[in-house]
């Protein structure tokens, strides 16, 4: 291995200028982690500027049998950008040009390193916007969003990244560069764009992205409803769906989260509230008026203590800034926090939240809840201290237990953060051996050598059983 390590760094330094290859241990430390718990140090980090350079790096890795992993801004929460088996980390952060904004056809063509928020800002002058809005949108990249199929609050009505991605240029694990999809819809053949989005960088490296743009809404209204408890807040969410209302966003926060937000930067949330629901409705003026009335009525009918319509853009922006800064705010209350991402059918929200409270009591960890209630996408934040002996294992087990609750409710292990390293050993909770084998066949079709972002998504033999055995649970796999 020492020989291969030496060779690959030398080769990379021949391929790219010195300032675009990091290989000293000191420089590599920054790149051993992302937003998740796991860590692993790469052999080298490269900063290609074109698909040709990415292809050359991949080809060099293939020659020496060295694994490689693509990385955007490193904000991912499941370890997608961690080089789990070492090797070369391919940072796409410098491929950050918006190549084209095609106003007539409502499309943008971007490189993967473009920061999410920047795209929407660049298209606003044309009356258009890019919809997926993960909370990390000030930092995360479109390429990373494509890798993880990222969501955000407004995906309830408008869909997640896959619904807004129309074409990709991809460097395949063979080093070949191919294009799939593009500005036109319904390309004949298998929907490889759909398959690649959310494949967590395990099937190839995306070097160019065709995205959908949509007209900016005429009117937007944001409503804040305060509840005496999370059960009532949940029934408000169920009530909206039952009344055939699908707002643009329905977000829910518990008291712990509200206090954290308000102590960090006051955003207009009442600190005594046990549960708040933030609802956004948008569209043509008359639709928004009527829907806003209907939403407020549902909240009052489900025992809201107060229902408030944001008076102006400033108040609206403050509420959203609070919501999007919620994770960071929790970070101020605790040395560390572990972000869990799970999904349940909307009708199972109240029962699931109650179970999470029990898990919090049993485990001794405080758990804050801030999440996309409209689509049943939970984000329990487990507060812990990494310096405490044995805490890491316990916090991971607690996360796994919440995942089990979601799975038993008919839900999923991840709504928007991905499986990555974090949850690969939990896959048996929702997929059978055959289900995973089918996915593995796809991996082999794209990456027979297995060097493209290895150690992600697929369960390690034995490891998952060990995890559940520790909690005294059986998993039929």
């Amino acid at each position: 291995m020492a020989v291969a390590e030496h060779t690959i760094v030398d080769q990379l330094r021949q391929l790219l200028p010195a300032e675009r290859v990091l290989w000293r241990d000191y420089d590599l430390m920054l790149y051993e982690y992302d937003g998740s718990i796991d860590k692993h140090r790469p052999l080298a980090v490269v900063f290609p500027l074109s698909s040709e350079e990415v292809s050359q790096v991949v080809t060099a890795c293939n020659r020496d049998g060295v694994p490689y992993t693509a990385r955007g801004a490193g904000t991912g929460l499941s370890g997608g950008a961690i080089p789990a088996r070492g090797g070369v980390l391919i940072s796409l952060a410098r491929m950050n040009r918006i190549l084209e904004i095609d106003v007539d056809n409502m499309r943008a063509i971007v490189e993967p390193g473009v920061v999410n928020l920047r795209l929407g800002q660049a298209t606003a002058a044309h009356g258009l916007t890019y919809v997926p809005d993960p909370s990390s949108q000030k930092a995360c990249t479109i390429g990373g969003n494509v890798g993880e199929n990222s969501g955000g609050p407004h995906t309830l009505r408008y869909g997640v990244t896959t619904n807004h991605t129309l074409g990709l240029e991809v460097v395949l694990p063979t080093g070949e560069v191919v294009r799939v999809g593009g500005s036109s819809l319904d390309t004949p053949g298998y929907d490889l764009v759909g398959l690649l989005v959310g494949s967590e960088g395990t099937l190839g490296i995306v070097t160019r992205i065709w995205t959908r743009l949509v007209p900016i809404n005429e009117t937007v209204k944001t409503i804040l409803a305060v509840f005496a408890n999370m059960e009532d807040a949940s029934s408000a969410v169920a009530g909206m769906i039952a009344h055939r209302i699908v707002p643009a966003a329905i977000e829910m926060m518990d008291n712990l989260t509200i206090r954290a937000i308000e102590s960090r930067s006051p955003s207009g949330y009442p600190v005594e509230a046990e549960g708040v629901v933030l609802i956004e409705v948008d569209g043509v003026r008359e639709e928004v008026e009527a829907q806003s009335e209907a939403v407020q009525q549902v909240c009052r009918d489900t025992r809201a203590l107060s229902v408030r319509l944001a008076r102006d853009e400033a108040e609206r922006a403050a509420l959203w800034a609070g919501r999007k800064g919620a994770f960071a705010a929790i970070g101020r209350l605790t040395p560390d926090y572990y972000t869990v991402d799970g999904v349940v059918p909307r009708t199972r929200l109240p029962a699931t939240l109650a179970r999470i409270q029990e898990i919090s009591r049993e485990s001794g960890f405080r758990i804050a809840n801030v999440f996309h209630a409209g689509d049943g996408n939970l984000h329990p934040l487990i507060m812990w201290d990494a310096d405490e002996a044995g805490a890491e294992e316990r916090v991971i087990d607690t996360g796994a237990e919440i995942m089990q609750v979601c799975a038993e409710a008919g839900g999923s292990l991840s709504g928007e953060h991905g499986i990555g390293m974090e949850k690969k050993d939990l896959m048996p909770l929702i997929f059978s051996r055959q289900d995973v084998a089918q996915m593995q066949r796809i991996k082999e079709a794209f990456d027979p050598g297995g060097l493209c972002n290895p150690g992600k998504i697929f369960p390690t033999a034995g490891r998952c059983l060990e995890l559940f055995a520790r909690r005294g649970r059986a998993v039929g796999w």
Binding site: G182, G189, E287, T347, N377
Partner: protein, 407 residues
């Protein structure tokens, strides 16, 4: 339908089986795969013309015996059904709860939900709600090795594992046979209306459509009809733009008002259509699909009217009916059979509109399929498609030869 009448491009199967359960269906696939027999899965049999003639065909697996609702919880706005359920039956069940599956392809009586998804069929509502890829949240498929596998799930937001749902949609049963589908649903709008605008020419239609799709107005559908298609839908012979509106009554009224004035501002005239105008259009599309030849073109959105113009011009004399989902850059033509060379030339013309613009011959006489590939050139990614096919269906059991690139 019996074995004697069911044939695909003139090829008749030796046997037809009608399993009642997913397990039986999977076992039948394995039996065929083990003995080297080729299988075509068939639902209502309403879209058998799509694709190239099969290289081999021994067994037809009829999915209509799998027609149960697996789970429907209206408050979750999701449903899980077996693939052989009739589309019309599914919409009836959902409609009782004020909900629907926002997919409105031309679906003949008897079309199954599995068949519509396997052919990635879509209709006008795609402008607002997207296509199957935006609505399918979970699949269960039977594989040639006899396994039954799931992808996705029953929740509306889910990124666990590869999104194989996308792969199965539109794969024409060449990778596996869909036995169960989960969908996200939409509430039926409290009010619905249509605006039918008769335009002086296609340029005016283009300006109108461009203006509306870039505006904050939010029609559910933006349709453009050539004169022939307009007549077939019971409207005057003119290039006609039709908007479908849905939402709260006051929002629908306002949009009807705005669109009416936009139509006249672009030199057109709103015509008082009958209350059934929207259904008449759907019927027109369905009837048109019975013509000898049906073509589908896709290009960047702003080329929608140019696609309609190209169809009208190149198919002149073949009694073409031409319509477009103009907000999506997708256009269709139904006509009498042209020469293969005319189709090839039309395809070259469409390709010029964009790097992945395409022309697919969705229906034509078998003899024409010997002269031209109905799918067109699949481009550089065909090697990946073949690699996927080789992994999921290694013995080439499922619909051999009917798909893109000879798959």
């Amino acid at each position: 339908m019996t074995t004697s009448t069911l044939e695909i491009d003139g090829v008749s199967p030796r046997e037809r089986i009608s399993p009642r359960t997913a397990e039986d269906l999977a076992a039948a696939l394995k039996a065929a795969d083990d003995t080297g027999q080729a299988v075509a899965a068939v639902g209502g049999g309403t879209q058998l013309d799509l694709g190239m003639p099969p290289l081999r065909l021994d067994v037809v697996v009829d999915t209509t015996g799998l027609d149960r609702v697996v789970e429907y919880e209206p408050a979750d706005l999701t449903v899980t059904v077996e693939a052989g359920m009739r589309m019309a039956e599914l919409q009836r069940i959902l409609g009782e709860q004020g909900q629907f599956l926002a997919l409105d392809p031309p679906a003949a009586e008897g079309a199954t939900i599995g068949g519509l998804i396997a052919t990635n069929a879509s209709g006008p509502l795609r402008f607002a709600y997207g296509t199957a890829r935006d609505l399918v949240i979970g699949t269960r498929v039977a594989n040639p090795d006899g396994t039954l596998t799931r992808a996705g799930g029953r929740v509306v937001k889910n990124v666990a594992g590869y999104d194989l749902n996308k792969l199965y949609i539109g794969s024409l049963g060449t990778l596996s046979v869909i036995v169960e589908l989960s969908f996200k649903l939409a509430p039926i709008a409290p009010a619905l209306d249509s605006v039918v605008g008769q335009m002086p020419d296609l340029d005016a239609a283009r300006e109108l459509v461009n203006g509306v799709v870039h505006s904050p107005l939010s029609p559910l559908a933006v349709e453009l009809l050539g004169p022939g298609a307009a007549v077939a839908a019971g409207l005057p012979a003119a290039n006609t733009v039709v908007f479908r509106l849905g939402g709260y009554p006051q929002a629908v009224e306002r949009q009807v008002r705005d669109l009416t004035s936009l139509v006249s501002r672009h030199g057109g005239q709103r015509i008082e259509a009958s209350p059934s105008a929207w259904q008449d259009l759907a019927r027109m599309r369905l009837v048109a699909r019975q013509r000898d030849v049906v073509l589908k073109a896709a290009a960047p959105i702003s080329a929608s009217t140019a696609l309609v113009a190209a169809f009208e011009k190149q198919l002149e004399g073949l009694e073409p009916l031409v319509w477009s989902h103009a907000g999506s850059g997708v256009a269709y033509a139904a006509c009498n059979p042209p020469e293969a060379e005319a189709l090839a030339s039309l395809r070259r013309g469409v390709a010029a509109f964009g790097e992945n613009a395409s022309l697919v011959i969705e229906r034509c006489p078998t003899v024409l399929k010997r002269a031209i590939d109905v799918w067109g050139d699949p481009g550089t990614s065909v090697s990946l498609m073949r690699a996927i096919k080789a992994k999921l269906d290694p013995k080439n059991t499922l619909n051999p030869g009917r798909y893109v690139g000879g798959i």
